[in-house]
């Protein structure tokens, strides 16, 4: 609710007009039968004047035109308002996610954030539209019809008040009793989807283990459960529906029954019967429309909660200053780790402990370790995708927390473990870090990245189309293109996070050789699992369960670091045994 209000606020004017037009619409709907009743009353009087009737009819037509125009304008403004709210929400979400750290974002998950950005907001927007168009008119029509009814006759107004009161109470009770069911229903729907998805993605395993029967049972249980709860909810609404219908019918009877007394007593006219019955019918009609909206509300509220969850998330990392920090241009070390430890916000254990090293210009620093040793986390700390828990990291002598994130990242080219390319052309992708690069610079980078041959073989070369994520290229090709992209940027620090693993050994070796002259003035960090990739690094840091257990050159580590030796053996021993 708070979320919706805060997004409606900037569009106050539109809100005002939407509400105004809804009210005009409702008044129009009620004033038409009122005029019709007047006409009947005029006709009922013996010796009636036809020209007076024409005047009333003109009024009625005018009312129809005015309220019709207002309703259509209202529909337009309402669509404008709700689509704007949806757009604002989407922009806000996207902007917000950019400020989240890697672990913040991971706690939501890519798929979930995409769903929230797209379909959740579509749901909210639709619900908001329906609320304005169908839910909001209900109290309005209740009030206006009561006012008009009381104007006609106090007694009739009183009866209508009583009936509407009963309906409101019943509606309230049904809503309240079904609200928790709706929540349950949503959960069951999620569960159903989850189990189903498990069945689809796990089809090989299920068949391999002969579990078809039990999986079918599991699915059918979920389906049955969902259907059972839905039916319960539907039944409650059916009851509400019938009670409302019954009450209105009773009202009609009461009107007929009492009208004789009231008319003879001079409080009421015969045509007013039509008017007052029509009021009640319209109120009922609007109420039934509103019921359909109410069915969709719990889902929309859940979506709101999911949106708020992102928007209210306080990111673990934010720029503490807009001012660029003073860098020491002569510093030999581009990036320095001083006693860095890192722990995820919700974890008890440290992921990384006591890291102390420098990445110097012209040198290659390698980080090696098994799965879960925290290798990739080191890269995320370097880019300030995650914030150090203890210690500090310096870029050219300045603490990276004391500069805008942009300043830090200007100096770095980062190549991910899983290469990601954007849809567009190869050239667009390569110029990602350096829009001013010339074509020859691009070819140069491709040559070093061992990607020249296959790009040249493409009919459109640099202008070749790249699909989203680069899916029209093989894993190795994507990886080489992303390496070329990093080279085009010409940064002071390269981070290759397991970037060579998708390449075969020959390409890996050729690429690393070509990299050496290219990165003479820059610092290079290679994170790897394969020993052969990092054999010649100037400084190898061996990570084991988050802690550095060895640091030095290959030969030194073979002697001094048992874990390094173990990794080395597991990758090479058998081969050497055989020759």
């Amino acid at each position: 609710m708070k979320l919706i209000l805060s997004f409606l606020k900037p569009h106050r004017k539109l809100c005002f007009f939407t509400i105004l037009f809804v009210i005009i619409d409702v008044i129009g709907a009620l004033i038409i039968p009122t005029f019709a009743a007047d006409m009947l009353n005029q006709a009922a009087v013996s010796g009636a004047d036809f020209s007076a009737l024409v005047v009333t009819c003109e009024k009625m037509l005018a009312a129809a035109l005015i309220s019709g125009a207002a309703t259509i304008m209202g529909a337009y403004i309402c669509a404008d308002l709700t689509s704007k709210v949806g757009a604002d929400m989407r922009n806000a979400i996207y902007k917000k996610t950019l400020s989240l750290s890697v672990s913040d974002f991971r706690s939501f998950g890519t798929a979930s954030v995409t769903t929230r950005t797209v379909s959740d907001i579509t749901n909210i927007q639709f619900a908001l539209l329906s609320c304005f168009q169908m839910l909001f008119p209900v109290p309005v029509i209740f009030i206006v019809s009561l006012v008009l009814a009381f104007q006609k006759d106090i007694m009739m107004g009183g009866i209508l008040l009583g009936i509407l009161f009963i309906i409101t109470i019943v509606a309230g009770i049904v809503m309240k009793s079904t609200a928790p069911m709706f929540k349950k229903l949503q959960k069951k729907l999620d569960r159903m989807s989850k189990v189903l998805l498990e069945n689809i993605t796990g089809v090989r395993v299920i068949r391999a283990f002969n579990k078809e029967e039990s999986e079918k049972k599991r699915l059918d249980n979920e389906f049955g459960d969902y259907a059972g709860t839905s039916i319960k909810v539907n039944k409650r609404f059916a009851i509400l529906d019938s009670i409302s219908f019954f009450s209105i019918n009773m009202f009609v009877i009461l009107v007929y029954a009492f009208s004789g007394f009231r008319i003879t007593a001079g409080h009421f006219q015969i045509g007013d019967i039509t008017a007052i019955i029509e009021y009640a019918m319209l109120a009922l009609f609007f109420l039934m429309m509103a019921q359909m909206v109410i069915l969709t509300l719990p889902r929309a509220l859940e979506c709101c909660r999911r949106i708020s969850e992102i928007l209210d998330f306080s990111p673990t990392i934010s720029d503490m200053t807009d001012r660029r920090a003073e860098e020491d241009k002569n510093s030999n070390a581009v990036l320095t780790f001083k006693n860095v430890s890192f722990r995820f916000a919700d974890a008890d254990e440290y992921t990384l402990k006591n890291l102390d090293f420098s990445c110097r210009r012209g040198e290659t620093t390698a980080i090696i370790g098994g799965t879960g040793s925290g290798k990739s986390t080191v890269a995320s700390l370097m880019l300030r995708f995650n914030e150090v828990t203890d210690g500090s990291i310096y870029l050219n002598g300045a603490d990276i927390r004391k500069m805008p994130q942009e300043q830090l990242r200007e100096h770095i080219s980062f190549v991910q473990q899983r290469a990601w390319l954007f849809s567009g052309t190869i050239a667009e992708n390569l110029r990602y870090g350096n829009p001013a690069a010339s074509d020859s610079e691009l070819w140069h980078a491709l040559t070093i990245a061992q990607a020249k041959d296959f790009v040249e073989a493409l009919p459109e070369k640099l202008e070749s189309f790249v699909a989203q994520g680069g899916t029209n290229f093989s894993g190795g090709q994507k990886q080489r293109l992303s390496i070329a992209r990093a080279l085009v940027k010409k940064p002071e620090l390269y981070i290759f996070d397991d970037s060579f693993s998708a390449l075969d050994f020959k390409t890996d070796a050729a690429l690393r050789k070509a990299l050496i002259p290219e990165t003479k003035t820059a610092a290079v960090v290679i994170i790897a699992q394969r020993i052969s990739t990092i054999l010649h690094a100037d400084n190898i840091i061996v990570l084991h369960e988050g802690e550095p257990v060895g640091m030095g050159r290959h030969e030194e580590l073979l002697k001094s670091c048992p874990i390094y030796k173990e990794i080395y053996d597991s990758q090479t021993k058998e081969a050497s045994e055989n020759e």
């Binding site: 038409i32 849809s423 990794i567």
Partner: protein
């Protein structure tokens, strides 16, 4: 930046509405009695609903006479036991009955749609087990999922609220028009004229609306594409300081969607007011004429009043019907997609009299096997090899060489196009699939865990296993220590997309699963590709234990793990181009040897 022409989205119009509707209706067989009662209720409800204004016309006329009499004689008004009193009572009964019938149909109908959907969903879960694996290769999980969830929910929603209303609406429309016609042909014709105009307007707006809806779908798909792309490539965007540019691109896509949404929503919401406007105008004109007739005694006041009620009664279904037909169409389109799924080609059924295998030794032969994912594109040609009981067979080769296909054929996930595969001399197609697969323990590259406890996941192939057996299997797979550090140990609930497990840990759990099953043949499809070499060496020891005495098939990327295989099959483009032991193949200096040296250079 992305290609916008190839975006696919679900159609809103069914291809064969009649056939789909009939088929949907035939699914209601088991609810026939309920439906008949509902149908009777609707008929009575509609008839009463239409009849009451007619009846009330007479009542009002009598009422008016009575009132005039009272005013003239100065007596106080009373309904009394006379004609008027009886009429009032019948009117009361009619209204009560209308409400009762309304209640019955609403209450009974509350379960009809959901039950129908449940029947369909159960058919789907049954179907899932009968579909060949190739179906799952060709269809995205999300698409199958939406057949079961959103598509069927749409059908249910429409059936629930819509279908009955549509029937009742048509009945009411026809009925009230009949009474109107009975009262006055001229007035009815005026009403009809306005109706025709409003139908034309509706049609024009709906047509425009469909176009706009298509635009919106396109804009939505485009935004989804961008969101997926940018969220997945988030790290790259941030590392290259492209935040602002990406915000601008997202803004553009969002605004495009906003415009399309605004148009569609407006058009959807302006149809009803337009129809209502026209019907109100017709009411004005008709009332004027009717009142004119009342004054000159050509029509009674009660009839004029009834006529007014009938106009309202006929106008409302008109708006409802136009709205309903759209959503009914969309629902039928959804139902059609579900039926298409249910009609998808199924696996060849098991043989009627399957052979029974006992005490399997594990001799497996491929004899001149040919296979292609489609018969006109044969991938594998005449493959032959034999795995003797207890042998370790390694399958190596590049991506797309057909390694996994080989395993899929062995498990009979796919049918061979030629030749035969035998286990202990028995053709695999002569066995029931269940019996065949019972002999294999498989660990796949894609780990798959289901929502449940770790213990349940390990015991997947043997739900009757004791906790000690489960623990022993976990120990053998080197995962026992890790499980014990989890909050609830073996009872920790995990998910298929569990964030609390690393890829390696998930893999170990699936390995434990096979340990527990103890099958005569083991298949490892890149089972350790996601764990680091050190852990791999650890698991390797356990694997060795698992494989000893059993026939095993190992697909591996890292050749270090398969060096000790009895027979290595080197595959390329679906065919085995070299086979033999490690030493033989190295000696041959062929494709295997060069691959091997490239890894250990």
């Amino acid at each position: 930046m992305s290609d916008r022409k190839n975006i696919k989205f679900d159609k809103e119009v069914p291809e064969n509405a009649g056939k789909t509707a009939l088929r949907l209706f035939s699914q209601l067989k088991n609810q026939r009695v309920r439906l008949i009662i509902v149908g009777i209720c609707i008929v009575f409800y509609t008839v009463l609903n239409v009849f009451t204004p007619y009846y009330s016309a007479g009542v009002i006329d009598h009422l008016l006479t009575a009132i005039r009499n009272c005013v003239a004689t100065g007596e106080s008004f009373s309904i009394g036991n006379g004609q008027l009193g009886k009429e009032m009572l019948s009117l009361f009964i009619m209204y009560v009955m209308t409400a009762v019938f309304y209640h019955f149909q609403a209450y009974l109908m509350a379960s009809v749609a959901e039950r129908l959907i449940l029947t369909l969903r159960k058919q789907i879960s049954n179907k899932l087990n009968k579909l060949p694996l190739s179906f799952f290769d060709g269809n995205k999980p999300g698409e199958i999922l939406s057949r079961v969830t959103s598509d069927l929910d749409k059908v249910s929603e429409t059936l629930q609220t819509g279908l009955l209303k549509l029937i009742a609406a048509i009945g009411t429309l026809v009925g009230s028009m009949a009474f109107m016609f009975y009262y006055s042909r001229l007035l009815t014709l005026i009403f009809l004229a306005f109706t025709v105009v409003s139908l034309l307007v509706t049609k024009a707006v709906s047509k425009k609306n469909l176009e706009c809806a298509a635009d919106r779908q396109q804009a939505l798909a485009y935004l989804t594409g961008i969101a997926e792309e940018y969220y997945t490539g988030r790290d790259v965007i941030r590392a290259y300081n492209h935040g602002q540019e990406s915000i601008d691109t997202v803004n553009t896509a969002v605004n495009e969607l906003r415009e399309a949404t605004k148009k569609t929503d407006f058009l959807t919401n302006c149809v009803n007011p337009l129809i209502r406007l026209l019907s109100r105008l017709s009411q004005g004109v008709i009332m004027l004429i009717a009142c004119h007739w009342v004054i000159y005694g050509r029509m009674s006041l009660g009839v004029a009043q009834a006529f007014f009620q009938y106009i309202n009664m006929a106008a409302e279904p008109l708006t409802e019907t136009s709205y309903m037909i759209n959503s009914l169409q969309a629902a039928l389109a959804s139902a059609e997609r579900t039926f298409n799924f249910l009609d998808a080609k199924e696996e060849i059924p098991d043989t009627a009299l399957p052979a029974v295998l006992k005490n399997v030794k594990g001799k497996i032969s491929f004899e001149n096997v040919s296979f292609g994912y489609s018969p006109d594109k044969i991938l594998m040609k005449n493959i032959s090899f034999t795995a003797w009981p207890g042998q370790k067979i390694a399958v190596v080769g590049g991506t797309g060489a057909g390694k996994t296909t080989l395993i899929n054929l062995l498990m009979r996930f796919y049918e061979v196009n030629g030749g035969r595969i035998t286990i202990d001399g028995v053709r695999t197609t002569d066995l029931s699939r269940k019996d065949l697969r019972h002999n294999f323990g498989m660990v796949l590259q894609d780990t798959w865990l289901f929502g449940g406890t770790i213990a349940e996941n390990i015991a997947y192939g043997r739900p009757d296993a004791t906790i000690d057996e489960i623990k022993a299997a976990a120990k053998a797979a080197k995962v026992d220590y890790f499980i014990r550090t989890m909050p609830q140990g073996y009872n920790t609930i995990i998910d298929n997309d569990a964030a609390n497990l690393s890829v390696g840990q998930r893999q170990l759990i699936t390995i434990a699963r096979v340990f527990l099953c103890n099958p005569p043949v083991i298949i490892l499809d890149e089972a350790t590709s996601s764990v680091d070499t050190r852990t791999e060496a650890e698991i390797g020891k356990a694997m060795k234990k698992l494989m000893s005495g059993r026939t095993s098939f190992v697909i591996a990327h890292r050749l270090s793990t398969i060096r000790d295989a009895d027979n290595i099959l080197y595959m390329e483009n679906g065919n085995i181009i070299e086979q033999g032991s490690h030493k033989e193949l190295l000696f041959k200096k062929g494709a295997y040897a060069s691959l091997y040296y490239s890894q250990f250079a």
